[in-house]
Symmetry: C2
Subunit: 326 residues, 2 copies
């Protein structure tokens, strides 16, 4: 009997569903629209149908497969309650008892668990990726925002109310850049992909550099991939964007290390594809900002999860983790 | 059979030894010099004799007492290894296998555990104080420095190498005040008792205020108690010191909350005796700096440990905690 888990990643526009084996291989996958109509029951019905379809598909590959449970990564997901609460990018408002609603449609699954996508990524790293065997590490996911998942003593840290691990919202610069959450000076406003763009424009302003490759793009056009391409092409401003992003990220990670004393920090997401361009200044800045007792101890590692499948794979890891506990 | 634990607090000049019952009452206590001679074996011999004396004393009170173990709070103590490592304020240099050395002298005690003093205070709060029944909270100890102890899922957080909980060294102000650890802009440089003094002098400079009660003290004379007395007497600068200290502390606690999602933050130490003078601006600043999902949820509470006995009582809590695990 081959055991598999279902991983679901709920994003603002798409919901991806995959069936994942114990090694983290995605056997089958599909995606449905995350609707804008706000009718949660309709969406749950569609999602349950899509899950059943994928389970049927995987059983075509191997009849004796056993599905051990469903793990879901979703914005503003509360692990303790199985709810999605006031997610700004979803059309479903208020507090949604998501796990219970899905259980009503799929009573055959005793394990249906939710957490946010960064927590799911951290679990994915621990179960399938570079954090195998590690008991204390932190995952930072750099993308439109900056998420984080904290693992302590081999378990995800949820805190008192399930919302621990918002390291992207630590304050790097008092009264600094406005953050999407309403705060000021948060790491996310500097080290996310849009944060890198903001740094690029700050540097254009500072140097009045009309020769930079980045000077020909509007604020809405420029993205972190363009900054990467320009940096590789030798653009001075673009290279400094990576320097500064790493400097901020290293400063923030130092605060995380001073709190948690992890073995390693994993970085995940689009901007990390730049490799040493981002890792080298991050590591230098981390060391510059650490207390002596932590210096030369903390690894900063690229996630080993495949960027395309990581959300599904991470979500499925939650199902495996819950299954282990039974 | 009445059970008691031994709590030992090792400071730079004194080592306090107490026998503590399950309710946190100190039955007997004494202190010996923490020597400056650097000979660790001599000190261990003295400490073991002092412990035996206190156990004999407590048995005079009640013959049927059982000692369940020894808990020790010490600077740079490593819980995992039972060591004291490179403690700057102690004359014993390098890595001292403290627990093992004491066990050699006191083989009758199977439980001898070490942690740093802020961790011990957090355990004391959980076992005897205001954090009874809480599973997720953080203790900040404000004194010459700022220590912290983090409790997660009912257990002290040690991290990968035993040094977690250095929240006093999070960066509040990039390139800000020099911290005793060698870093810059750390919370400790703003919110410790000397940090408050530094703020007082910053304000004297800013306002050129010759009428302030604080303007008659040298940098080496001024202490946080004088600032408190001046604030109560209506001194404008002294009151603003508390405002600013609370503002910094609340900013730092927000970062801690964003990492850990605790139920409560406990404040302990001399400056907290100022009550609302420090708690009110701290709480306001925390709320100003929290993400919406954490607003109006996090309690900031004064420690319920008695300031005079807290170090002994906290250290003894470590012994109880270890005893529970057996």
């Amino acid at each position: 009997m081959k055991k598999v888990a279902i991983g679901i990643d709920i994003g603002g526009t798409n919901s991806a569903i995959g069936v994942v084996d114990e090694s983290g291989n995605v056997l089958v996958k599909d995606s449905i629209d995350t609707p804008g109509h706000g009718n949660i029951q309709l969406y749950i019905d569609d999602l349950a149908s899509a899950i059943k379809k994928q389970v049927a598909n995987v059983k075509l590959l191997n009849e004796s497969i056993e599905v051990i449970g469903i793990g879901i990564g979703a914005p503003n997901a509360n692990y303790y309650k199985g709810t999605i609460e006031h997610a700004p990018n979803l059309s479903f408002k208020g507090i949604i008892p998501f796990a219970d609603m899905l259980k009503n449609k799929l009573p055959e699954y005793s394990t249906i668990a939710l957490t946010n996508d960064a927590n799911a990524a951290a679990l994915g790293e621990m179960i399938y990726g570079g954090a195998k065997g590690m008991k204390n590490f932190v995952m930072f996911t750099l993308g439109t925002g900056v998420g984080s998942g904290i693992v302590v003593n081999g378990d995800l840290l949820y805190g008192n109310d399930g919302f621990a691990g918002e390291c992207g919202h630590m304050i790097l610069v008092p009264n600094g850049r406005h953050c999407g959450c309403g705060g000021r000076g948060h790491l996310e406003a500097y080290c996310s992909a849009p944060g890198m763009k903001r740094t690029a424009f700050e540097l254009l302003v500072l140097y009045n550099d009309t020769t930079s490759l980045l000077a020909n793009k509007s604020f809405n056009e420029l993205d972190s991939k363009m900054i990467y391409d320009a940096a590789v092409a030798g653009d001075k401003v673009a290279n400094e964007v990576f320097e500064i992003t790493g400097k901020y990220l290293g400063q923030g990670i130092a605060d995380t290390v001073h709190h948690l004393s992890p073995e390693a920090i994993f970085l995940f997401g689009g901007p990390t594809a730049a490799g040493e361009l981002i890792f080298a200044p991050t590591h230098k800045s981390l060391e510059d900002h650490l207390m002596p007792v932590f210096k030369n101890k903390i690894k900063i590692l690229p996630s080993k999860l495949n960027l395309g499948d990581a959300a599904i794979v991470g979500a499925s890891a939650l199902a495996w983790k819950e299954y282990e506990k039974q």
